[in-house]
């Protein structure tokens, strides 16, 4: 249904292992992330989806005892995101993230979106105004909030908050956007809006999305990876995985069978 032109690589995990202290959470992951495509990560609870996703912006660096092995190559500049020489802050500036529960800062709508820009030292009102507007438009929430930019963000509805968080991530023009179960806290209507948005966004950015909802993966993604017990079991075009997975474990998961 979707047409697949031959895609370019945006990132690539190579023999990637991850450890929480002693416990190995990810085992030898090899996986491409294609440019301007949506890649979905599915798998049972605890299989390591979030762990994998959060490696892309070095979120694990925030907590002690975590350890990476292997590489995550980032293109076109072909840096290894995990390399100790690469500053995690720099990585995070290039890789945006949207979380499971909308987590707007207790600030105004405007300041939420401007946050990333301010972090980057931008304080010019005009530039901020413009970028904030663009980001809010990009997140399809501009019309709803343009008259109340000075309201506190936590007063928005759940779905609006989540779109605001997306706008916040968009404002800084990330090259890769990570979504960790972005709709699990939302009702079906808000969920629909977010999925729409993801579809729009992939024209501009590469997206990696974790979801528990297989139908959602089927709906929004171009590629799907099935993970199980810390391993990547299957990676392929979404179209194929959902009608005809290759691996028995993927099949079992997708059809709702017991492991």
């Amino acid at each position: 249904m979707q047409t697949h032109d031959s895609p370019q690589l945006k990132a690539e995990a190579r023999d990637f292992n991850f450890f929480y202290g002693q416990a190995q959470a990810l085992k030898k992951i090899n996986m491409p992330i294609y440019d301007k495509k949506v890649t979905a990560l599915i798998g049972p609870s605890g299989c390591g989806k979030s762990t994998y996703l959060r490696s892309f912006n070095r979120m694990h660096d925030l907590y002690p005892g975590n350890r990476y092995e292997g590489e995550i190559r980032f293109y076109p500049d072909n840096t290894n995101l995990l390399s100790p020489e690469v500053d995690p802050i720099e990585v995070r500036m290039r890789v945006g993230m949207v979380f499971q529960k909308p987590n707007p800062f207790p600030k105004t709508i405007y300041e939420n979106v401007a946050y990333g820009l301010r972090v980057r030292g931008e304080n010019n009102k005009r530039v901020l105004d413009e970028k904030v507007e663009n980001a809010l438009r990009g997140a399809a929430i501009w019309e709803e909030v343009k008259d109340r930019l000075q309201d506190l963000a936590p007063n928005l509805s759940g779905g609006q908050q989540q779109r605001l968080c997306i706008a916040r991530a968009l404002a800084t023009d990330p090259e890769l956007l990570l979504f960790d179960e972005p709709t699990s806290a939302l009702d079906p209507i808000a969920t629909g809006a977010i999925e729409e948005l993801v579809h729009e966004l992939k024209k501009r950015v590469t997206i990696l999305i974790v979801t528990h909802n297989m139908q959602q993966a089927a709906r929004v993604s171009d590629y799907t990876a099935y993970m199980y017990l810390g391993e990547m079991v299957e990676f392929g075009k979404t179209d194929e995985i959902f009608i005809k997975p290759k691996d028995k474990r993927t099949e079992d998961y997708i059809t709702g069978r017991m492991g």
Binding site: R92, Q100, P104, F105, R118, P154, R168, T172
Partner: protein, 315 residues
């Protein structure tokens, strides 16, 4: 409870009446317990009523002898002297200055420590440092008083040679240190209660730790911070012994922390433990002063309450 209520037999009716009786008994019990609990809550109100009663009833005698205008406008406080003046502003100034100094130390220091412990320190440091720091709150204030007098003042005099041996500055500084754990500990609790997701949101934007702490964690914890500040202020305003020992007990209408001065509390404790015959006008001054202090703290608390309500649970 039996749920097969099919036939309207005699035994069913019996059950119904049993049930009603049971309900009635339960309701009586519940009301009784509520009453007891209410009584407990009322104790705090009664305490206040008691305090207000004690303070007001004695203050009334006081104000029969001293006009309120004098009380508020006179710039001398010598109620025990032959030439008695009752200008409470003298004590208020001491109280405000000493509290001000204390808070100028405790609020930034406490907040910084809280930020450091909750955002920067590794958990092991935090787990050890926090209870140890809390010990500061348990040190008898008299010990702090001597600490101010014997250690801090000489140190300060090295920096400010003209500093007298007793001063609001040195008492205030030490008082500030004493209050630090209240602010640091409660603020740290409040900051740690800020969901991790909030922080992750900021880090994910590429923010540094400090930027995250200042722009996200602190605003999110503002209600808890306010609570800790209020407690800190209360503690500063109500603190007695440090000032009695180190601030010089000199009724002195001054806004300069480098001078010695008396505060409301140090005045009260001095008189209450002194030689004055009870019932004398000098003795009654402590009640008028106490009442003033109560009103001051009331104002602080109302402001604090208002602030807290305004910022409550912003996240």
């Amino acid at each position: 409870m039996n749920h097969t209520m099919s036939a309207k037999s005699a035994s069913d009716l019996h059950q119904v009446s049993d049930r009603l009786a049971h309900n009635a008994l339960r309701n009586v019990n519940e009301r009784l317990i509520e009453l007891v609990l209410f009584a407990a809550a009322a104790v705090s109100v009664l305490t206040t009523v008691g305090i207000v009663y004690v303070l007001v009833s004695e203050s009334i005698h006081f104000f029969q002898n001293v006009s309120i205008v004098d009380f508020l406008t006179d710039n001398q406080w010598t109620p025990l002297f032959d030439d008695a003046h009752y200008g409470i502003m003298v004590l208020i100034s001491g109280t405000l200055v000493s509290s001000g100094v204390a808070l100028a130390v405790a609020i930034p220091m406490g907040t910084i420590i809280a930020i450091y412990l909750s955002e920067f320190a590794n958990p092991k440091v935090r787990e050890v440092a926090k209870p140890v720091l809390e010990l500061l709150g348990g040190i008898p204030t008299i010990v702090f008083g001597y600490f101010a007098l014997l250690i801090v003042t000489p140190l300060l005099q090295k920096i400010f040679p003209e500093l007298p041996g007793f001063s609001l500055l040195s008492a205030g500084l030490v008082m500030g240190i004493m209050i630090v754990p209240y602010i640091a500990s409660l603020s740290e609790d409040a900051m740690r209660a800020v969901p991790m997701s909030m922080r992750e949101g900021s880090y994910a934007m590429g923010a540094t730790k400090l930027y995250t702490a200042i722009h996200v964690v602190v605003p999110a914890a503002v209600s808890g911070l306010a609570a800790s500040y209020i407690l800190g202020i209360s503690r500063a305003v109500g603190e007695t012994m440090i000032l009695a020992v180190a601030a010089g007990m000199q009724p002195n209408l001054t806004w300069n922390p480098m001078e010695p001065a008396a505060t409301i509390t140090s005045y009260i404790v001095q008189v209450a433990l002194g030689d004055l015959p009870h019932g004398s006008i000098g003795y009654q001054t402590i009640f008028a002063a106490g009442l003033t202090l109560l009103l001051i703290t009331l104002v602080f608390n109302i402001i604090g309450q208002w602030l807290r309500r305004r910022y409550r649970e912003a996240y």
